[in-house]
Amino acid sequence: MKKLLSLILALVMVVSLAACTVAPADEGTKPAETEAEGEKEAEPAAEGEEEPAATGELMTIEIYDAAANFHGVQSGWFAKVIKDRFNLELNIIAPQVAGDAIYQTRTAEGALGDIVILDKGDFLDCLENGLIKDISDKLPECENIMKFKVQIDNYNQNLGKGEGVYYGIPAQMTDTSPTTLSSENVYSSIWLRWDQYKAIGMPDIADLDGLLDVLAKIHEEFPTNDAGDPAYPFTLWPDWDGGDNMIGIANIVQLTTWYGDKIKESAILKPDNTFTKIYDRTAGYYKIAKFLNDAYQRGLVDPDSGTQDWNTVMNKISNGQVNFLWYSWQQGFWNSMDRKEDGTAFAVIPVEDMLYYADADNYYGSTRVWGIGSQVEGEKYDRIMEFLDWYASPEGLSFEHNGIEGFTYVVNEDGTRTQINSNALMDNLEVPAEYGGGGYNDGSNQINQWLCEAICMNPETGEPYSVSEWKSYKEANMTEMKREWQEKYGAEDPVDWMEKNGKLLASPNVQVPLDTYSSELSVIRNNVNTQLCDYSWKLIFAADDDAFEALWDEMTEMLNGYDYEQLYEFDCANYQKEVDAKEAAKAAAE
């Protein structure tokens, strides 16, 4: 009897097991998709309940945003701007904050977001798998966006879905030209505090060693900020590593542009338009890694560098604890009008042997694309398109690039604008209640991505949106400091200096469809990137030159072990298309 009982039990167990394992397989071997379908069905129903016929009821739009540094619902003054006009609430999903896993789980669920802002490669993957909505019916009606028809057509035709079929809108397009370089600064160069540079006698800087000498002197003279907190020339942060289609740590890859190198995923594009491997000892990644290590060996690197995030660094810059910047936009966290007037602002200091790589205006858009999630239907779709068109309108762009009229700028008699409260962002000034209250920085546009770049012309003022291009701004910025700078370097601005001295390597903007990684290559890419980043941090913090070289050898071996070669070949072939297009664009412009 006992035997029989145990037999029955065993049998039941086997049957129940089989039922559990087989059943889902019969339903289609993909729980992910069945779930997603369930959600899709559920969504319009829920919408129907929440959104009766009456238009204009409060609606929450989910924005999957590869550019955002903020995760959650937009608040503050910009939230009020959107709510007053569209009665929309923006729920921002930021993979940079929440981790890339959120991309994988949401795509597996079949709904990434109502609005999606993705890197071009991911956008293609999502499009192929039906996550992106065909917006051909509504997009041509969007007057403001369609001012960029050339660029949008160009991008969508490359998708190969047919004439007049629209899926994506490139981000940050400009209305200039693919070869124009509008900015007066390149993306990455040497920014030092003018007063500190003066205090050490303004020595000319010949090369990276010279730069280190200067930084060491500055560190010696100014080891703390005015409040007595420790200050360092180098404050690094690891949370941007491996992004923007470049493997390796962000603080190295951007700096390689000082010597004309540009990193394309796993390959380094050299000034002569040939590719080399990331671990090539004669190329930029090694040069900059060694430079940062030398800086560390001389005690110039903030010890928190390997473990802090960008937001901490941002606070340190605003707090005067960072004496050296290398992104042109970083100055915005320190350079107020007052500081420019009293000469304590950051300015570009040229280095003799550098050859600055600069991307021309994003005529065809940046590396990211805007799209609409395929699950969006009905009223929500209408309202999103209405919102997007506004986002590219003069009013929308004014809010995005200039802030609040009457708070961060005023309109002059001739229609042009003048900036006021220039420290609103860095000091997080309190916004008056009528504009929504709260801190200005806290309430600023957390989407952190535009359809149109600030350099675009504002038809209402006859000047670009970019504050630094305003006549009023230029007049106000003719400070003592600026005059001293112009006198010393004999040029209008840094880009002018670079052009005059043949130190500028401008790369035209092109629109080339690139292949995306297969699953195998993406595993290789991510493994190689993880290893490179981990080793890079150890390299920067290497105790001496011998340790540095030993680590570099170890890293090379490790990368090759993770099939770096395979990745490199793919990347070279892929980006060769871009190089060819750039050559053609250059030739056409000449």
Binding site: A101, D125, C126
Partner: protein, 304 residues
């Protein structure tokens, strides 16, 4: 009649067991279905049904060259080392309980017990934030050292990989020892008072009472707990190592579970990390049979 009665009873008893069979089936066997991902070329936006079947590609990929094999061995080494350390010191909570029991001042005893138990209820993220505020470059320790002139620049405790296994064990013990001691305290209260009293009457010192009565009475409990921790040898959790890991110490802190997590969630390699986690099951089964054989040889009986 009798047979029918027995049958009815068998059904009744089976119904009593049924919920547990279901639980095991749902939570232990159903997830095994996910192993299917290891045999496909899966990359998230594309559903599994449209992914290519690749057979054992990812399994061979794990050991396809020297470096990759070394990486797996490195991760296994970390796992074994840190689990091994906890195993080696698994007597610590027991001795802690024994000594705690010897404290005669009740309020102090209660105080110590509460203070040591509390960390168990703190999440690892908070433990790390405590570690950060104490050991970071601007943390308490560095501030004291620098103000006393013992260090001219901050010491990077959290970035160093020196003695990291031992440090991890210290954090684990700080968090768990008090909680683990509870079991032993309960066991101690179950020891027959007469034994201790008789020993005292016979003139046994405190040490002798501990050594000859308390500890031997606790050993059965100790062995049961030891078996449980042996079963979890490979699953030493990833939270602790996840929060403490950074680029500088990762090579010595990455345990198998964390490696799988980093491969899948961090790097998007779901297929390959499923393959690695299947490897974990294989190693676990080997461990189980080994310990069972040893147990049979030493104690004369196994547990399966």
């Amino acid at each position: 009649m009798l047979k029918n009665k027995k049958k009815a009873r068998a059904y009744k008893e089976f119904l009593l067991v049924l919920p547990f069979i279901l639980l095991v089936a749902i939570f232990s066997y159903y997830p095994l279905y996910g192993w299917i991902y290891a045999f496909f070329d899966y990359k998230p936006p594309k559903p599994l049904s449209q992914s290519a079947f690749v057979g054992f590609k990812w399994f061979t990929n794990i050991v396809s060259n020297k470096i990759k094999t070394q990486e797996i061995l490195r991760v296994l080494k970390n796992t074994f080392a840190m689990s091994g350390l906890s195993l080696l010191f698994s007597w610590f909570p027991m001795m802690f309980a024994v000594f705690l029991n010897e404290i005669k001042c009740v309020p102090f005893k209660k105080f110590v017990q509460t203070v040591t138990t509390l960390p168990n209820f703190i999440s690892w993220v908070l433990v790390y934030s405590i570690a950060y505020s104490i050991f970071s470059s601007t943390g308490a320790v560095n501030s004291v050292l620098q103000s006393m002139g013992l260090a001219d620049k901050p010491i990077m405790f959290l970035q160093s990989s020196e003695h990291i296994w031992f440090k991890m064990w210290l954090w684990l013990t700080w968090k768990n020892a008090g909680w683990a001691a509870i079991m032993y305290l309960a066991a101690i209260s179950g020891i027959d008072e007469q034994l201790t009293e008789a020993a005292r009457v016979d003139g046994a010192s405190r040490w002798q009472v501990i050594w000859h009565i308390t500890v031997p009475s606790l050993l059965p409990t100790y062995f049961v707990l030891l078996m449980i921790s042996l079963a979890n040898f490979l699953s030493n959790g990833m939270e602790q190592y996840y929060v403490f890991s950074n680029s500088f110490n990762k090579s010595s802190i990455e345990v198998l579970d964390l490696y799988v997590y980093n491969m899948a969630i961090g790097a998007g390699g779901y297929s390959i990390s499923t393959a690695v986690s299947m490897l974990k099951s294989v190693v676990s089964v080997i461990l189980l049979f080994t310990t069972n054989t040893i147990s049979k040889a030493v104690r004369g009986e196994g547990f399966i």
